[in-house]
């Protein structure tokens, strides 16, 4: 938790920066403690303790700007560091657009760090023995057998709990705190079939609350996923209906968020340049940012400039409603600043009611009848300027709404705008612990390359 001493240290840093002749300053303290227990084949393999603390200084001096960080937080070494930092900032070229955000935009309601409701005091009480127990009891090794004809080769699991503190202060009196605990478990299982061909499966869970972590089911789920890959193969290339599982669907949203960032737009390196207010995507596509949903993992009341976040639509019924513009980028583009980036995006279900509504993946597969279900991506990229993408995929062929056989070694290729114009349904099954709340999605006429 952020202490009075932490705030006093940051105030002292700001005073020192200003005493070197700076016009303004913003100082950020990030601190974290993490305890981790990794297992290999049902036994403890690694125990790690991490304790980090780092100070970031942003210096505005004579119309110039520099950003600096150090993990040496003793005042004597900090004083030396600050002196050098201000001197280096002075060597930059002047840029009148570099300044602190307007006072009225800054957050004033995140003073204790607890406002977002993501701190669980139970994290302090977890003992080393409990961490080992948590890691071991989630493992599938020795408890669940592989499917017939399959052998479990390896199981790697990892339990961790952590607490992260973030304090931002500036020379105009800004003071914002955020504290968040996290309890996490992930496991990867490798199996082999009778011919020695290997397959892997992964499962994980995460919660900001100790009693919210459901690790116990992860080992078994990873094992089932690995075994389900048996005899996977590429299908003939062609146009297929594509359903993307909620666990990985966020991959297709990331390029949209990057393209709406001021950093891309201002450089002309965005396929969504000029899209604000335009109908670019399918009408049912609504993407919102929910940074102020108290208790929702990943929620945060302020961004790195200390600007207050708001729950906002990003794309509404296919129309682009928001560019992500921090103070600097807004100045460059001659636009009003918004927020520097998305905090916790959510794709709304579509349709939201009626006979075509599909609550979960199974219902969406039934609605689509046949196509390819994508359960994982394997590499690939999206060109930020054109939106042209190509990703490796694995998943399952489905027919009459049922999974028929596993597929791998295939690629999807297309353009992001076109893909999202072909988006026609979203379930309502996004996992709350994912960084993006994206449900299972369905797209028509997607180019798959394969055999």
């Amino acid at each position: 938790m952020i202490s009075i001493e932490d705030k006093a240290l940051l105030r002292w840093c700001i005073e020192k920066i200003l005493s070197q002749g700076a016009d303004a300053a913003r100082v950020t303290l990030n601190r974290s403690v993490e305890e981790l227990v990794a297992t290999l084949d049902g036994e403890v393999d690694k125990v790690t303790r991490c304790e980090d603390s780092s100070l970031s200084l942003e210096v505005f001096v004579e119309g110039k700007f520099g950003s600096f960080s150090t993990n040496r937080t003793q005042r004597e070494s900090l004083e030396r560091f600050i002196r050098k930092a201000v001197a280096m900032a002075r060597t930059m070229e002047p840029d009148p657009l570099r300044h602190l955000p307007e006072r009225g935009r800054k957050a004033a309601d995140a003073l204790t760090g607890l406002e977002a409701g993501l701190y669980d005091t139970a994290q302090e009480d977890v003992t080393p023995a409990q961490r080992v127990e948590n890691a071991l009891k989630a493992a599938a090794w020795g408890r669940y057998g592989a499917a017939e004809g399959m052998t479990v080769l390896s199981e790697e699991g990892e339990y961790s709990d952590s607490c992260n503190d973030n304090l931002v202060m500036d020379s105009e009196g800004l003071e914002c705190c955020h504290t968040e605990t996290s309890f996490d478990y992930g496991v990867e299982i490798t199996v082999a079939d009778a011919g020695g061909r290997k397959y892997s499966g992964y499962a994980w869970d995460s919660s900001s609350r100790r009693d919210g972590l459901d690790a116990a089911a992860c080992g078994r789920r990873a094992l089932e996923r690995a075994c389900a890959r048996k005899d996977s193969a590429a299908l003939p290339g062609g146009k297929y209906t594509m359903v993307v599982d909620s666990e990985v669907a966020g991959k297709l949203v990331t390029p949209l968020l990057s393209a709406l960032s001021g950093y891309s737009l201002q450089q002309g390196n965005s396929f969504l340049d000029g899209s604000l207010g335009q109908q670019v995507f399918a009408e049912g596509m609504t993407l919102v940012d929910l940074p102020r949903e108290k208790g929702l993992q990943g929620a945060k009341y302020f961004d790195s400039e200390g600007v207050a976040t708001r729950n906002l639509p990003i794309i509404e019924n296919g129309k682009v409603k928001l560019y992500f513009l921090n103070t600097y980028m807004a100045g460059k583009m001659g636009m009003e600043p918004t927020i520097e980036g998305a905090t916790k995006v959510k794709m709304m279900p579509w349709p939201q009611s009626g006979p075509e509504q599909a609550r979960d993946r199974a219902a969406l597969l039934r609605r689509c009848r046949s196509g390819i279900l994508v359960t994982d991506f394997n590499g690939g990229n999206c060109n930020p300027a054109t939106g042209d993408f190509s990703y490796g995929i694995e998943g399952f062929l489905f027919e009459d709404g049922e999974l028929v056989r596993p597929v791998d070694g295939m690629l999807i290729t297309g353009n992001m705008k076109t893909l999202w114009q072909h988006f026609f349904a979203a379930a309502d099954d996004a996992r709350r612990c994912l960084s993006k709340l994206i449900p299972t999605l369905a797209f028509s006429s997607v180019d798959f390359s394969g055999e």
Binding site: D45, T48, S67, T70, T91, E93, L153, T190, K239, T386
Partner: protein, 469 residues
């Protein structure tokens, strides 16, 4: 000790190792690191942002068999270090531990990156004209330039390692990098291109040669890029141009040769040591000893001297890439591949500079001439691999179709997918034009690590290329 950056004495090192071994551990090592990093960025014609970052601390690792206890302190105060040593010692679970050996210095067998001008003495403002020069050289070459973002970074890490054998090693690791992204428009279409250079070298790396080199590369193939289209996707022959195509080795083979994956039975190459895995005449190495190369290591992060490791010799799998844990497990000497992102991480087997040695199948033109239908690729942005399955992908920024032995229409933004062992077996020809790529490659296996790659032009059959249908 040759420097006093960490304010630590030999008896402190011994005391910490003793503390680490007190729980019954059979190995303990200490990794002290002070890293100072500076960066500058040119955007819209001005260098209006820059900064410096420092990181200081010590990681303490205790091993019991293959099990690891790890903790670190962001201070070299003995109280904090003892606390970290006790936390790491907890892995051992009791009993009497090994004793610390007699302290002795391990001399550096290769001085691979003696910095001419130490970055710690470098005034960062001196890099500003070089960034401005990169932009002006690009604009001079190409009138369709819309925007240029150029960045400079330099890093100097001081490292001190001590272990329970009593071995003391020190290393001073410079790294200097320049990178540029340029946006071009012909009025109808916007395209981007990027290029970078990165070396374990001091400020002497900044100069006209590297600026011209970057400007040349970033404008190369612009006309073709404006015309580029997606090919029809499917399985086809791929001729991979010399240099950056080494990403094929990194993703498709290198990761699967890392011994931790093999020790755990996860790699597609587990249990295949000594077997023929590709055609005779193919040699694949992972080399720490290329002077000034981004992947060069005087010592790895376990204090093992850098070395050149043949993973594939004349088509036969001859070595995995080992850290100390896997080397002990396999009963072989460590290969100097135990690397880590910083003192915050325990070392794991990582690649350095991974490349294939020259073949004897002629030139790249010969390879292209032998293909009836396929593609030639020479620029890449990233790659990925699934270790168990061996399925790898890499993303191609640019290339050309091959039709009846000739290069024809330009292509761009395509992903290529294949399977490691199969792709190795499907290498049909290797040219004699080996090139080590000097771009700013960073591998992301659990932790970030600077690496490089290289390859002569090769012809690989049966890779799946993404495209329209």
């Amino acid at each position: 000790m040759s420097n006093n950056t960490f304010g630590i004495r030999m008896e402190d090192l011994q005391a910490l190792v003793a503390e680490g071994l007190s729980g019954g551990g059979d190995w303990c090592d200490l990794f002290f690191e002070y890293s100072a990093y500076t960066s500058l960025m040119l955007r819209d014609g001005i260098v209006s942002s820059g900064g410096s970052h420092e990181d200081y601390g010590c990681g303490i690792r205790v091993l019991k068999g293959e099990k690891t206890g790890y903790a670190y302190a962001e201070s070299t105060d003995m109280k904090a270090l003892r606390k970290a040593a006790r936390a790491a010692a907890g892995i051992a679970g009791g009993g009497s531990g090994a004793a610390c050996g007699t302290p002795h210095r391990v001399e550096c067998p290769n001085r691979l990156y003696p910095a001419g001008t130490d970055w710690r003495e470098f005034e960062s403002a001196a890099a500003i004209p070089w960034l401005q020069r990169i932009e002006s050289e690009i604009r001079r070459r190409e009138s369709r330039t819309l925007k240029v973002i150029a960045s400079f970074s330099c890093d100097m890490s001081e490292v001190l390692m001590f272990n329970s054998l009593g071995e003391l090693t020190e290393d001073l690791r410079p790294m200097g990098s320049l990178a540029v992204t340029a946006i071009f428009s012909n009025g109808k279409k916007v395209i981007n291109n990027n290029a970078s250079r990165s070396y374990r070298a001091g400020a002497e790396m900044l100069g006209d040669a590297v600026v011209q080199d970057l400007a040349d590369e970033v404008v190369r193939g612009i006309d073709e890029a404006f015309e580029a289209r997606r090919p029809k996707g499917g399985k086809m022959s791929v001729v991979m141009g010399a240099g950056a195509s080494g990403i094929l080795l990194h993703e498709a083979m290198g990761h699967a040769f890392e011994a931790d994956f093999n020790r755990k039975g996860q790699s597609v190459f587990s249990g295949r040591m000594g077997q023929k895995i590709c055609r005779s005449g193919i040699n694949i190495v992972d080399d720490a000893c290329l002077p000034f190369n981004r992947g060069a290591c005087n010592f790895d992060d376990e204090g093992v001297p850098g070395q050149k490791t043949y993973m594939v010799t004349d088509g036969v799998l001859t070595s995995f890439l080992h850290d100390r844990i896997s080397a002990k497990y396999y009963g072989v000497a460590p290969t100097g591949n135990g690397r880590r992102e910083s003192f915050r991480y325990n070392p794991i087997p990582r690649m350095r500079a991974t490349y294939m040695e020259n073949g004897s199948d002629g030139s790249v033109e010969d390879l292209i001439a032998s293909v009836r239908k396929g593609i030639f690729v020479d620029r890449f942005s990233n790659g990925q691999v699934k270790i168990g399955e061996g399925d790898f992908t890499f993303f191609v920024k640019s290339g050309r179709l091959i039709e009846d032995g000739r290069l024809t229409a330009p292509v761009s933004d395509i992903n290529i997918i294949g399977n490691g062992p199969k792709a190795l077996a499907d290498i049909r020809a290797v040219a004699s034009d080996l090139k080590i790529d000097e771009s700013q490659w960073t591998c992301g296996k659990e932790q970030s690590a600077p690496v490089s790659c290289g390859i002569p032009s090769v012809l690989v059959e049966n890779l799946t290329v993404g495209g329209g249908q």
